[in-house]
Structure formats: structure tokens, C-alpha cells
Subunit: 496 residues, 2 copies
């Protein structure tokens, strides 16, 4: 077969690099054999771990992983099979594994096997999405993926478009960048960014990166942006403004009141960006899409399919209401998109990203969307949302736990041991933090942490579970709830 | 086995998502079976292609790939196996395949099988590098990788450090960002960036992104920055300045005179960043490392291991002379690195990247470095450099081709058909461009294009071959050279 190093006539192995050392390039046999090694190492490491994460904390993990990396760059290599098996096994054994339901502390999903398998193909073929002649077919796949996602977000617009990004952070960065450039083209010196106190830290980081003034923070109540506060913030100020709303806050999974915010934003001639990194995939569900009503009025929307889309990282998306909005990203580099090449019909990909070399994240997304369809993905989203409701109900009847008052945000449930409530404010919070760390240290569970308003309106620290496991149900958490209630901190203040 | 959805007691399949539809999560059996599907599709698509890229140009490829993506988001999915096989096969058949030696137009490498297999493990485990409790063991692996690469670049510094990035473009962005922040902390309003006319476009793009003045372009001669011109550009100007030199230009593979540039930069109190995205891996070779003499005086250095490091994209690196230089990246987000968690010993990873969710690119790099060792990687680099020299010699004796005068840059060889030389300047260049496009259209070869000085000092357009194939030798290109010499353009001016 042509196209593979080992079988190519006249192709000699490089000196010092016999085929047995590297496994060759990726002739089907070499790659197949090494893939088996990786799968065996994954299975072995996962079995040895036996739970959601390893015990022993950072020092314990370092002590076990260190030896298989020592030295990391030896003078002479130890061979492909040994290096691959040892390191993958150690990383699997030492993983915080979102495939285990009790690994539920972050927007960190267990990827679908079909998406992981597609990643292998992407890695082996290695198309680079910065020019057509590095990725002829992958270019077509990416076009279809971005078109489908753009229509999902902005079904009523004639020319919606979308970009693939490294994640919500990059999507928010590009959104602010585009707003800055629009402002500049209208002769403004800068753009004011306004976001809720509940916004993701990446909004602030993007403004810093882009040399914009720090975003104006709009007050929230019970975790959601208050429309009247946005109105006040926009009133009287001059010049272009971008309002960043959140659909699925990191801490609580809450969705800002998008229709009201959109109306106010439009009234002041400002523009709306919605960070729906978490909540965006609600659009796959007929039943739940309603929760995102108003999102279509946003000029740009951030989505992360490595959250409620079950993709391996990275699978970020920035959807825009009109393809013309992406024009400020256009760039020229003669080796990639010379004018005469573009005129001759070679697609110009450079304006589709801030990156240059770029991996084909579209491949796994395409395979997943085709494999599951909108209804299939919608069912998985609904499963997580329903599981969170079920978990909340179980917490509400658990004598040792108290849930944060109010509705469940998408698939995020906040709660704390009642033992912590018995302690005064700061000590109670310290107890919650210590419980979380103890569960981590002992390798029992990955729970998150979030500061959120308690019933009295005051901030308190909560344990956070973010349910992204498409097969785990509420009953899978019963033993975890008991464990949390029973865990007192060894290194924090005594909750008793 | 605990930790895998299907085998977990009490774990029911999600409604609407039977295991047969999604392949489950990644229980060893589900993932193994789908991996086989992906490998079969890769092999089938590659065999059907039979060459370095598909024939038919963008329209032909779209016509063949489109049907397997139509519709991309059906209401009901078509199942994991079918979607995976069809799309991967189409992408493999329609790939520009760097595993074929005649796919040599870009810094687009054929990845090592061992690195691709490691990517499968990364995708299946899905650690996210923004907090320790999403990636306990992967955190250790990344620490070791960055430490090893930092020492490779800055062996004489007491506290060198490195970050992993999405590629050279992001590395250059972070380098300019760090320079901007250093300038700001010294009370300067901005930092002046100076780079050669040969610099990668990402330097200009980074300055734009960061709100910096456009970089000052320093003149080059024969593709390399002229020290006296840098001296002139720095003389008399005030305030902090960052000089960006290139070690391995995209067009010609040339290395700027680093020792002279470092000396001048230091004399004016400016700082030096070296974009060694292409050339950095020369450091793996005892024989070739000398070509990068002076790189150790750079405050920061860009490396891409998805070029001369045979990694699947992304494997970018930014090495810095001292870990303290990274301080401006530190960020706080309570859900990821709350102060009390950091005090309790949980590693703070947020300052290691501009991204938040972040895939473990360290895993494949770690496996590769351990598998091949410094000598093994050095041998691969030497093989490419030697192959380029051999190719240049063959072009020099080919009656139908003319090589760009001057030395070979790393592994890049520029040449053009003598038929193009017979035409006046612009028409000759158009002929060269048309030959390239015709080879692409016919699916015969991926050659690059570069404008570079001819013997008379005037710019001319050349065909570019960048040799990154660690197993192909000069003889593999003989038939390609004949093909180029014989190809006249169908859509450009007649070269005869």
C-alpha cells in the first residue's frame, strides 16, 4: 500500500531509528499493535485504580508516576512499547476518571468511545486545518460541522457561522476580539465589556489579554444577572458595549435571564454575547431548548462540546449570527493562502481561527453528531438534567446534608454537610473545603467547590456535583452522600 | 471493573442511548471494538487514495466527502460504527498524507505511531490540565515534560521552565504577552516588538491581538535578519523592546544569526525571543545543535514538536529562561485553585496556560521522548537534514530544475522548473504557482510555495519541499523531480 512509510518502495528506515524502536510511522500494523498496547495499559491502570481517583494526594501520585518518567529524556530511548505501556498505565492508574460517577467535581465529561476512536484517526492522519492542501477532506468535514452548529444556535439567521476553538476560554476571547474590532471600525477607541458577577474568569482574562478595560461587573441575585442592574450599568455610558451573559454558570449551572438581558442590551444599542459553554447543548433537547430562549439574539455564542457533548477536549465552538462578523479574523500568509491560490479556488482557512497549525477537532464532533443524532444527544442531556434533579431530591431527604436553596442549575447540585452548618460562617466553610480535600486525598471522590448565596442571601461555600455522566443515575450517588455526611475533616477544623 | 460505565453496579444505560448506539463510554471492550473500526477505515481510505492526496481539487473532494456528512446532524443517529467508519474512511481517502514522502509542502509531519497511540489514551481518559483534581497523574507527566524541554533549551539557567501550547502561534502570542506585562510592570506604556521580514505571520497577529503597536520589520538578506539593520532599528528608540528572531523560517528553513542578534539585543537593553518552531529540535542532535548557538540567551523560545518532533498536532512549547517570567500568567478562579486548596498542597495549574480546559498534550510527548531518547530523536532530525541535502544535490544536477542559490535551510529545499525561468518575472512566477496547483489538482504531490531572493537579489516564487519524513530518503523524490520538470500548467500561462 502506498502512503505508509514501511511499505513504500525505496524507503529505508532512518539510521538510529529501526522500525522496532518507533513502531514505524503508522502503517496499519504498527499503529494497530501499539494501539493494543495503549488499550491494555488503559485497562490495567484503570483496574489498579479501582475508583474515581488515586489515593495519596499530589505527593502519593507523584511518587508513583515519577519513576516511569525518570529520566524523561534519556540519552537512548527505552523503546516504543515499554514507554507507551508504562506511562499510559501510570496515567490511567493516577487519573481522576470522569467515567466513574463519583468523579463529578467539574465540567469534565467522560468521552464517548466513538469520539475517542475518532481522535485516534485524527492523530494518525494529522491533518492541519490551516490550509486546504494539508487537510482536503477534513476541510469539508469542518465546514459541515460548523454549519450544523451555527444553524443549531441561530436557526433564524440567513448566514450564521461558527468556528471551532480550543474551548470556552478561546471562544470568549474571540468574541471579545471581534467586538473590539467592530468598535474600532466604527471609530471607537475601545469596547466596554459588561458581565455578571457570575461570569467565567475567562471573560476577565480575555479583556486583559486584548488590552481592553477590565469588564464592568453587573450584580447577580441568587447566581443570575439582575436585569435592572444591567440597565443601570448601560444607562448613560457611551460608546460600543458588549454584554456577556452566561447560560450555565460554572459554579451553579444557572442560566441568566436571556430574553430580558437581550431586550435591555438592544435598547441601549449594545451587543450580546452568551457564554453557553455548559448550557449550549440544551439546544439538542426539544424539551430543554426552551431554557435558552433568547440565545438567538446574541451576536456570538460560546459552546463547549467537551462538556455536555461528551467529546474529549478540545471541542470548543464560537457561533456567530452572521458569517460577516468573522471578517476581522481574516489574515494573509502567502505560504498558506496566497491571493492567486484563493482566486484559483483553494479554500482560505486562515481566517477560521486564531491558531495556525490546528488539529481536526471537527472529525470527532462530526462522527458523534452523525452517530447519535439530535435526539440521541438530546436524550443524553436530558438524562444528566434528570439525574441532577433526582440527586437533589435525595439530598433534600438526607438527614446529614443540606442542599443550597433554590432550583437545580442544569446538572449541577450544591450541598454541604449539616455538620458544617453547626459551625460559625468561616469555620463552616473551612469544614466544607476540608471535607472535599479529604475525599480527594483518600481517593474516594472528586467533588467541586462553589461559593453561592445561602437562604439568607449571604455567600457560603458548598460542595459541588456536576453530573455529566450519561449512564449514571441518582442511585449511584447514595453511598457517596452517606460518605460526605460521615466525613469529618482530618486537616480542617473539627466539624463536631 | 469499577470506573467504567457499563460494568459499574447500579449504572443503567441512559434512556435513548443504548450501548449499541454509542459504543458505551469507553469500557475496554467498547473502545477496543471502535478502535478497530477506526483502524480499518484508516487502512481502507488510505489504500483507496493510493497517493499523497486525492485528485480532483476542492470540488472533487467535497463531492466525495459530502455524502457521508449529509445530514451532519440527523434527527436520529445512524449509529457509532457506521458513522465512524464512513467519515474516517472518507477523511483518510481525502487526506493530504504526510506519511507519503511527496506530501512535503508544509511543516506538516507524519506522526509517530507511538505518539498517535498515546493520543488515544489521552482522548479516552480525558484529563483536563486546569486543575490537579481533573488530572492527578497527567499533572506529574506534564511537569516532567516541561522540565526536560526547558533544560534542553536553557541548560545553563538555574530555573528554566516551559509551557505547552497549541502551537508556535500561541507560543509567540504568550511570549509577546509576557514581554508586554514585563514592560507594564516597569512602568512603560507598551513594548516595541522588532522582527525580521522573514518572521512568521503569527508575530504580527499576536501584536494585533494584544493591542500592541505593529512590529517593526527589520530587513533581511538572503532570508536572514541583518544584524546591522537590527542595530539601526534599536538605536535611538526608547522603552522596552522585544526582538523576535527566527530559527528555521517557514519559507526557507533559515536560521537568523542568533549570536550576533543576541549581542546587539543585549547591548540596547532589549530582550530576545527566538521562534524556533521549526528549528528547535536541532537541539536533540549533538551534531546539529551547534546551529542554534546563542539560543540560550533568549528570554523565551518557541518550539513545535508537531514539526520536527513527529507529534500529532498540537505539541507547541514555550520555553522561558526563568520560571519567574511566567508569573504574569497566574490567575485565580476559586473553583480551580482556591487559596486554601493551594495552601493545602493542591498544585495550581491555571497559570500554566492561557486556556482553561486543556488536553494532556504532554502524554504523547512524554511517551515519545522516553521511547526514542535524545539520540533517537536526534537521528531522525539528522535524517531529514541529510535527506534535504541529498535532494538539493539531485536538483542541482537535474537538467529541468533550478535550485534557489545558497545553502539548504534545515530540511527545506526551494527550486523551480527551468521552463519558468524562460518567462519574464511575473509570468515565470505564475507558472511556478500553476505547476503547484496542477500537482495538487491531479493528486500527485503537495509542494509548497515561497517567495525568496534569487541570485540577483530579486524576489522570485519557488516550489518548496520541507522534508519531515523520518524514513524517506533522497531517492524517493527522483520521480517527483521529473514530474515537476515535465509539468506544464493547464490553467496558468504556458511555460513553453
Amino acid at each position: 500500500m502506498r502512503g505508509y512509510g514501511a511499505a513504500l518502495p525505496g524507503t529505508a528506515a532512518a539510521p538510529g531509528c529501526p522500525d522496532t524502536a518507533t513502531g514505524g510511522l503508522r502503517g496499519p500494523d504498527g499503529l494497530r499493535a501499539l494501539t493494543e498496547v495503549a488499550l491494555d495499559a488503559l485497562a490495567g491502570g484503570t483496574a489498579a485504580r479501582g475508583g474515581p481517583l488515586p489515593a495519596g494526594g499530589p505527593e502519593g501520585v507523584a511518587a508513583r508516576v515519577g519513576p516511569v518518567c525518570d529520566p524523561l529524556l534519556p540519552e537512548h530511548g527505552i523503546g516504543a512499547r515499554t514507554a507507551l505501556y508504562e506511562i499510559v498505565r501510570a496515567v490511567a492508574e493516577g487519573a481522576a476518571d470522569p467515567g466513574h460517577p463519583w468523579c463529578a467535581g467539574h465540567l469534565h465529561c467522560p468521552p464517548l468511545a466513538v469520539a475517542a476512536a475518532a481522535e485516534l484517526a485524527a492523530a494518525a492522519l494529522n491533518p492541519s486545518m490551516d490550509s486546504w492542501d494539508q487537510a482536503p477532506a477534513a476541510t469539508v468535514v469542518e465546514e459541515r460541522v460548523t454549519a450544523a452548529l451555527a444553524r443549531l444556535v441561530h436557526p433564524d439567521r440567513p448566514r450564521p457561522d461558527a468556528l471551532l476553538t480550543g474551548g470556552g476560554t478561546e471562544s470568549n476571547l474571540v468574541a471579545l476580539l471581534l467586538a473590539r474590532e467592530r468598535a474600532g471600525r466604527r471609530g471607537a477607541r475601545t469596547v466596554r465589556v459588561l458581565c455578571g458577577a457570575n461570569a467565567h474568569h475567562s471573560v476577565h482574562r480575555a479583556a486583559w489579554l486584548l488590552g481592553l478595560p477590565a469588564p464592568v461587573t453587573v450584580a447577580c441575585r441568587a447566581g443570575r444577572m439582575v436585569p435592572a442592574e444591567l440597565d443601570r450599568a448601560l444607562r448613560g455610558a457611551e460608546g460600543p458595549a458588549l454584554v456577556v451573559a452566561t447560560a450555565g454558570t460554572t459554579d451553579e449551572g444557572l442560566i441568566d435571564p436571556l430574553p430580558e438581558l437581550a431586550e435591555i442590551t438592544a435598547r441601549y444599542g449594545a451587543e450580546l454575547h452568551v457564554d453557553a459553554a455548559y448550557g449550549g447543548p440544551l439546544l439538542f433537547s426539544e424539551r430543554l431548548a426552551e431554557r435558552l430562549r433568547g440565545i438567538g439574539s446574541a451576536v456570538s455564542v460560546t459552546l463547549d462540546l467537551h462538556k455536555l457533548g461528551w467529546q474529549p477536549i478540545a471541542a470548543g465552538v464560537l457561533a456567530v449570527a452572521d458569517t460577516g462578523l468573522l471578517e476581522p479574523l481574516s489574515a494573509r500568509a502567502d505560504y498558506l493562502n496566497a491571493e492567486d491560490d484563493t482566486e484559483a479556488g483553494l479554500p482560505d482557512l486562515l481566517g477560521r481561527s486564531l491558531r495556525t497549525s490546528r488539529r481536526p477537532d471537527a472529525l470527532k464532533i462530526a462522527v458523534t453528531l452523525r452517530a447519535l443524532g439530535r435526539a440521541g444527544l438530546g436524550a443524553l442531556v436530558e438524562h444528566c438534567v434528570d439525574s441532577a434533579e433526582g440527586l437533589a431530591a435525595r439530598i433534600d431527604t438526607h438527614p446529614g446534608l443540606r442542599r443550597r436553596p433554590g432550583p437545580v442549575g442544569i446538572s449541577t447540585v450544591l450541598f454541604r454537610p449539616v455538620a458544617a452548618d453547626a459551625l460559625p460562617g468561616a469555620r463552616g466553610d473551612a469544614c466544607v473545603a476540608a471535607v472535599r480535600r479529604r475525599l480527594l486525598e483518600e481517593g474516594r471522590a472528586v467533588l467541586g467547590r462553589a461559593v453561592a448565596e445561602d437562604a439568607d442571601g449571604r455567600p457560603a461555600l458548598w460542595l459541588k456535583t456536576t453530573l455529566l455522566h450519561p449512564q449514571a443515575g441518582p442511585a449511584d450517588f447514595d453511598a457517596l452522600l452517606d460518605l460526605v455526611a460521615d466525613t469529618t475533616s482530618a486537616d480542617g477544623p473539627d466539624p463536631g
